[in-house]
């Protein structure tokens, strides 16, 4: 039983005192920041990434992963209590979760979200372990042409499945790819687009870009709004859902877990799509008989999406860990973190760093357990945090970002880069250009160029190589099919409808 051996190795790594501590710290910090309004998971990860540089790679990744699903969970807490999604994937949780809270059932909603997330997380962890081996074996058959096509599929998938204007998202990817090319070209040694600035010959730091585009741009847009938040903090009592609640939501949790796991593996899938899909499924299944109706505090509308987004968040690690392809902005940051620790992402990670690979997977299960244990008793503390006004919060966020940016290479240049990308991100926000595809392109830019070069070198400049190799052709056809599918009017309206559910 390879699977069991691998999981045992993973658990042995994740359960060392050291790594347990980092996992705990990650989950705690992640939840804390997820609960605090105005900072999404991507910005959180970008802000905290520099501070994990000094850790051993395994601990750093375990902590970052913990921050990610901690933030995810914290986001649901604010969705239920304040009707303010901490991040996009908890948008649908607001619909019924907040209504439950208004009817005095906040405790049950929080409890079922925690239980659903834990079940989903456990199943997804097993799925990752099971899928990792076959995918890695497949990945070893890949040549540069296949890798290039896979990246095309990954990037296209990421924007097709996300909400928003498709062609603008593709343009953002291309812009990201271009920005990723800034710096010294590995093949020729030419410093491209560096404009004689010595720091730019090493390229633009992706942490600085992510901080600027996500954290700073977010702060500026929040500060300019006169926003008053109505915090819904009555006493939260009865954290445990009743037996009837559990019975009602069992089906929703199961379906949400399966749906989320499946959608998480797809390129571009992940938590957001999973939670939206699960909500529509539950609503359809319940039909008109649901009592209370959906949108008025039906517990299945919390249990399903919450399980789905956690499962999706977790299985989206599969393409990242096995193929080195990020399926969303968070995974792009994880890839960046691996590169910083000198681990080349890709299928070889599993064989060259088995302890890291399986340790990270096992830590997710451990972390999910911690989340349940941590959140239910600590809910009072999170409620207090919700009262912290934004005007005190954002100077603190900026402090951490600036120090983090400086410590990237002990150079003020990275601080300036974050400021520039803060302005760029502000323009993107005003023009409704989603920044997530930009980050994906940014991470993949150099890899894509490298594989394109190698593929064409091997084929002596014959570009048809991408279509004559069957695996590569299949990947490109899948990408083309995705674009065509989305462009079809019938599906396009469905897609828009699905994403409007939460607005």
């Amino acid at each position: 039983m390879d699977l069991l051996n691998n999981l045992a190795l993973g658990l042995a790594t994740a359960l060392t005192l050291h790594n347990l501590a980092y996992c705990f710290a990650g989950v705690l910090i992640g939840t804390l920041i997820g609960v605090l309004p105005g900072l999404g998971p991507v910005a959180t990860l970008a802000m905290l990434l520099p501070f994990t540089y000094s850790l051993p790679p395994v601990s750093a990744l375990i902590m970052l992963a913990g921050i990610y699903y901690g933030a995810q969970y914290g986001g649901s807490t604010t969705a239920i209590l304040v009707n303010l999604p901490g991040e996009s994937s908890s948008v649908v949780t607001c619909l019924d979760g907040y209504q439950m809270a208004r009817r005095g059932r906040a405790g049950a909603a929080l409890g079922i979200a925690a239980i659903g997330s834990f079940i989903a997380g456990s199943v997804a962890t097993l799925l990752i372990a099971a899928f990792a081996l076959p995918l890695v074996e497949l990945a070893f058959k890949f040549g540069p042409a296949e890798y290039f096509s896979l990246m095309v599929l990954g990037l296209i998938g990421a924007v097709v499945l996300a909400s928003g204007n498709l062609i603008k998202a593709i343009a953002m990817i291309v812009l990201g790819l271009l920005l990723g090319l800034v710096g010294t070209d590995v093949n020729s040694g030419v410093a491209r687009f560096a404009f004689d600035i010595p720091e730019l010959t090493d390229g633009i730091g992706f942490v600085a870009v992510a901080m600027g585009v996500f954290a700073f741009a977010e702060i500026v847009t929040n500060v300019e709004k006169h926003e008053r938040r109505e915090v819904f903090i009555d006493k939260v009592r009865n954290l445990w859902p009743t037996a009837r609640d559990l019975k009602d939501s069992a089906g929703a949790i199961t379906r949400g877990t399966l749906l989320g796991s499946l959608l998480g593996i797809l390129p571009g899938g992940g938590a957001l799509l999973a939670s939206f899909a699960s909500y529509s499924v539950e609503k359809k299944l319940a039909g008109t008989k649901a009592s209370p109706p959906f949108g008025q505090g039906n517990i299945r509308g919390v249990a399903g999406p919450e399980s789905a987004n956690n499962a999706g968040a977790q299985t989206s690690f599969i393409p990242m860990l096995t193929l080195g392809i990020p399926s969303n902005a968070v995974m792009a940051l994880m890839i960046g973190a691996m590169t910083i620790h000198n681990i080349q992402p890709g299928p070889q990670v599993m064989s060259s760093n088995p302890a890291l690979f399986w340790g990270l997977i096992a830590s997710m299960w451990v972390g999910n357990l911690m989340l349940v244990v941590l959140n239910l008793p600590l809910i009072g503390m999170w409620l207090l945090l919700l009262k912290v006004p934004y005007k005190w919060l954002y100077p603190a966020i900026m402090t951490f970002c600036c120090i983090g940016a400086y410590s990237l290479s002990n150079n003020a240049f990275d601080v300036y880069v974050t400021a520039v990308f803060g302005a760029v991100g502000y323009v993107f926000y005003k023009l409704d250009c989603e920044p997530a595809p930009l980050i994906l392109g940014f991470i993949l830019g150099p890899m894509m160029e490298e594989n394109l070069r190698r593929a064409l070198l091997l084929s002596r400049g014959d570009a048809t190589v991408f279509f004559t190799r069957p695996l590569s052709l299949a990947l490109l056809l899948m990408a083309a099919a995705l674009v065509v599918l989305v462009a079809l009017p019938a599906i396009r309206s469905k897609r828009e409808e699905a994403f409007q559910e939460g607005d």
Binding site: F193, F216, V223, C402, S407, L431
Partner: protein, 153 residues
Amino acid sequence: MRIGDQKNFWSGVMFLVLGLAFAGFAQNYDMGTAQRMGPAYFPTVLGGLLAALGLVIAIKAMRNTEPGGDVERFHFGPLLIVLGAVTLFGALLRPAGLVIALLVLIGMSAYASHEFRLREIVPLAAFLVLLVLAVFVWGLGLVIPMWPAFMMR
């Protein structure tokens, strides 16, 4: 006739200009051949693609005359104050040390808020500076000068 979809129109223009800029600057480097790509090859292709996408977005937006896609007003005040605070932090860090740079960063960025109150910001700044010193300087051992160079002698 006024373009209704201003947001997408200007997005398209932005992509078009950036694409042309990248492709244009790339011409300073060696193009190479498809078989042996030079450093200019990939950026030229991508820049061209970005410009083309931008053009399509802009043209599609121009055809749309229904109002409703206006660009929200730019608030340059908060933008300049917040990002200016970040830039000043970077500039002050070496010569003036961490403590002064942080005080400037926190004070200035807090000023961008509509609800700025000096008596709230002073304790906040003091708390944050102490937190940073405790966590990053004494805890994680970050090497950053704490005070201005002339005071350290």
